[in-house]
């Protein structure tokens, strides 16, 4: 009995020691952005393409844009995209440009804590310094508001954020965005949008039990989206099989209309409304070209 007790005590001590080490484990790398000239108009375009405005706003609520999104219900709990207006207390008004860069590209809050991967920062790692500087300038044009959408409601043990460091080590990978000189420019632009900023794979890829995207299932669809939704397979093979042309896809990303005259649902309507409808026709065509090209 005593020995069992000692054993348990030893185990608990070991767990506590591991947790303490994990809590102290530094993550991320310092950033230096130099003196780049900001273009807020370009930054706003990127912020729409990246879904910042869509996810951090809730048009059905009475709150202003970017004061926080509706709850995202997952098996780990309910996540709320926070207020990212320049409010100093409830938004990102107290942040520096470097804080913003680290948050967006590395998923680390100014206080050093890792963000939950409901925030698709892995895909934003491909943003350039100029992209970050422009987006930061765009966020400065937003009126500050102290309103919020409430807090996350995460079940134990997922509420212990230092555990996310292990998650990062195991699952923080992103699909390729580096240009392939052998491909057309539009294909490369499409790849950068699909696999990077527009983060299509965040929904259109199956996840494992830990919530990590399964790399081999990239863009092959998911039937376990937050709230119980599904996202179809959007690989070139599947799109060809279901009769989608590049033209159909580009038009659907603008209008929400699918080839048969039905319109998107299941969350894709929001993506169109807040992101892809705002893109230039060239960018929608680039996305369509990349997705419909067999690799």
């Amino acid at each position: 009995m005593l020995r069992a007790g000692m054993g348990l005590l030893g185990l608990l001590t070991a767990i506590a020691a591991c947790a303490a080490l994990l809590a102290l484990w530094p993550i991320g790398t310092p950033v230096a952005l130099g003196a780049l000239q900001p273009d807020p108009q370009r930054g706003a375009y990127l912020a729409r393409a990246g879904g910042c405005i869509g996810c951090h706003s809730d048009p059905g609520s009475d709150r202003p844009a970017l004061t926080g999104g509706g709850p995202i219900k997952t098996s780990f709990g309910s996540f709320v995209a926070p207020n990212i207006t320049p409010d100093p207390d409830h938004g990102i008004g107290g942040w520096t440009l470097e804080d913003f860069a680290r948050a967006v590209r590395q998923g680390i809050a100014p206080d050093g804590r890792p963000y939950y991967p409901a925030f698709p920062y892995a895909f934003y790692g491909a943003l350039s310094d100029q992209d970050i500087v422009d987006m930061w300038a765009a966020f400065q044009t937003v009126p500050a508001s102290p309103e919020t959408a409430g807090a996350h409601d995460i079940a134990f043990p997922f509420d212990l954020r230092f555990g996310l460091k292990l998650w990062r080590a195991a699952y923080l990978h992103a699909p390729p965005t580096a240009p392939d000189p052998a491909r057309p420019e539009a294909w490369n632009r499409g790849q950068w949008l699909v696999n990077g900023l527009a983060h299509c794979g965040a929904c259109h890829t199956d996840r494992n039990l830990a919530g990590g995207r399964i790399a081999a299932r990239h863009l092959k669809g998911s039937d376990d989206l937050p709230g119980g939704g599904t996202a179809p397979d959007i690989t070139a093979t599947a799109l060809a099989r279901t009769g989608w042309t590049a033209g159909d896809l580009a038009f659907a990303l603008q209008s929400g209309v699918m080839p048969g005259g039905d319109t998107f649902g299941g969350g894709m309507g929001k993506v169109v409304q807040h992101s892809t409808a705002w893109l230039t026709p060239e960018d929608r065509t680039a996305i369509a070209q990349y997705l419909t090209t067999e690799n």
Binding site: Q41, P59, L66, T230, V257, G260, F264, G265, G269, P281
Partner: protein, 186 residues
């Protein structure tokens, strides 16, 4: 064998129900499914004109838009009485728990469809009209980073000033916004 039969029977019923969801429905659920199908067909008819794949014909566009307008707004919401949750329905419970939002979107569909009926005579601008998207400046009250949907603040007459393809996309994005929140997709 005997014990398996009821299960097999149930599975068959399930399959049949899935395959004939629209034809198997009855009453108000069937009526609203038929209305949705009519709207889908109207969109399908004019979509090739919007993409430039078929010659543009203003009167066809106008009549499709009028058909959709007649089936939206109050005519749409009256087909969703409380408790009409026949198992064949694709309507999510949110229709009734979030009725105000549902009603707003149904009204917005009517506004945008009436707008398209007016805009039909304007013809096409071509993809990426500045007023409808792309510029980023029409996003709502808070400048270039606004999140509001332009359609919520526009009347049918405003939308009627747009090129037809812009008004069309504004209307169809309203369809999608409603499906997102209130339709159960497979």
């Amino acid at each position: 064998m005997f014990r398996k039969t009821p299960l097999t029977g149930l599975a068959l019923v399930g399959l049949t129900a899935a395959a004939f969801a629209h034809t198997g429905a009855t009453g108000v659920v069937k009526e609203r499914m038929d209305a949705m199908k009519t709207m889908q067909d109207a969109i399908k008819t004019i979509k090739p004109m919007m993409t430039g794949d078929a010659p543009y014909d203003a009167s066809t566009v106008r009549s499709a838009a009028e058909k959709i307008a007649a089936l939206s707004g109050d005519d749409l919401t009256r087909h969703y009485p409380e408790g009409s949750t026949d198992h064949l329905t694709q309507a999510l419970p949110a229709v009734w728990t979030d009725w105000d939002r549902f009603e707003t979107l149904a009204a917005q569909l009517e506004t945008t469809a009436l707008g398209l009926a007016i805009a039909a005579d304007n013809g096409l601008h071509g993809a990426g009209h500045m007023m409808e998207n792309g510029s980023g400046m029409m996003g709502g009250g808070s400048g270039m980073m606004g999140g509001a949907q332009p359609a919520q603040m526009m009347t049918a007459d405003h939308i009627g000033q747009m090129p037809a393809d812009g008004a069309f996309a504004m209307m169809t994005r309203t369809c999608s916004a409603c499906h997102d929140q209130f339709r159960k997709d497979d």
